[in-house]
Symmetry: C2
Subunit: 142 residues, 2 copies
């Protein structure tokens, strides 16, 4: 369980000034179980009674992503989502209920080695998402 105070450290470690808005944005992204979009971050700030302009949020997100504190994702929605940068995992997006789950795996590392061997291409990061039906929706909608 992380507390707000840790975000101050995280920010400082990343060489960023720790401001209330930055801490709050980091906190909101962290307390979220699945990747969150900018509009949701903005309204979450409002409900936390933290006054911050949308533009400021965009700029903070750019900074945090640049410094590697958060990861920027796309789920074929025409917008970005963010999550805290943690151990490697891939997202499972249910096409029926929209729920986003995640899974870790041991396959991709080997696949990236193969990419290096076959293509000489060095993978720095990847974007891997699976779209389908979660267990619950298979029962309901089928």
């Amino acid at each position: 369980m992380k507390h707000q105070i840790n975000h101050e450290k995280d920010l400082q470690n990343a060489g960023l000034e720790s401001t209330p808005v930055r801490q709050a944005v980091l906190h909101i992204i962290e307390e979220q179980k699945s990747p969150i979009d900018v509009a949701s971050i903005v309204s979450s700030l409002e409900s936390h009674n933290i006054k911050a302009d949308k533009v400021t949020v965009y700029r903070i997100l750019d900074l945090l992503a640049e410094k590697g504190l958060i990861a920027r994702l796309e789920f074929q929605e025409g917008k970005f989502r963010y999550e805290v940068a943690t151990s490697d995992h891939h997202h499972l997006i249910c096409l029926n209920c929209g729920k986003i789950d995640a899974i870790e795996d041991n396959w991709i590392e080997d696949l990236e080695k193969e990419i290096k061997q076959k293509k000489g291409f060095i993978v720095q990061r990847h974007s891997i998402e699976f779209y389908g039906l979660c267990a619950e929706c298979q029962k309901k909608s089928t």
Copy 2:
């Protein structure tokens, strides 16, 4: 080597009326070696002297994707790209020169089985991209 005439068949097989613009869009996407965005498709139509509104192109792309003739992709650019739907492969996007290569693999099928076992999630489609440095750019930029 496919000819325009095949696109007529492709469209009809998909249950779509074969119009000049639809054939041209399909042709442009097919002659492209890597996934192409909408703006490029529109200007390509212009240079082929085919008059078509941007909106029409969007609608055609939606149709073609819906019918499975083309695939809709995202490369973290905030816009969509399209390619002909072919055998399964993943994209290698060079962060230095922007070149987009592709690779086939035998890993993902097994990973999707594991997802089914571990999570009960049934994968219908996936989005898998690797970002890094292509062989040429490793020589130059390093």
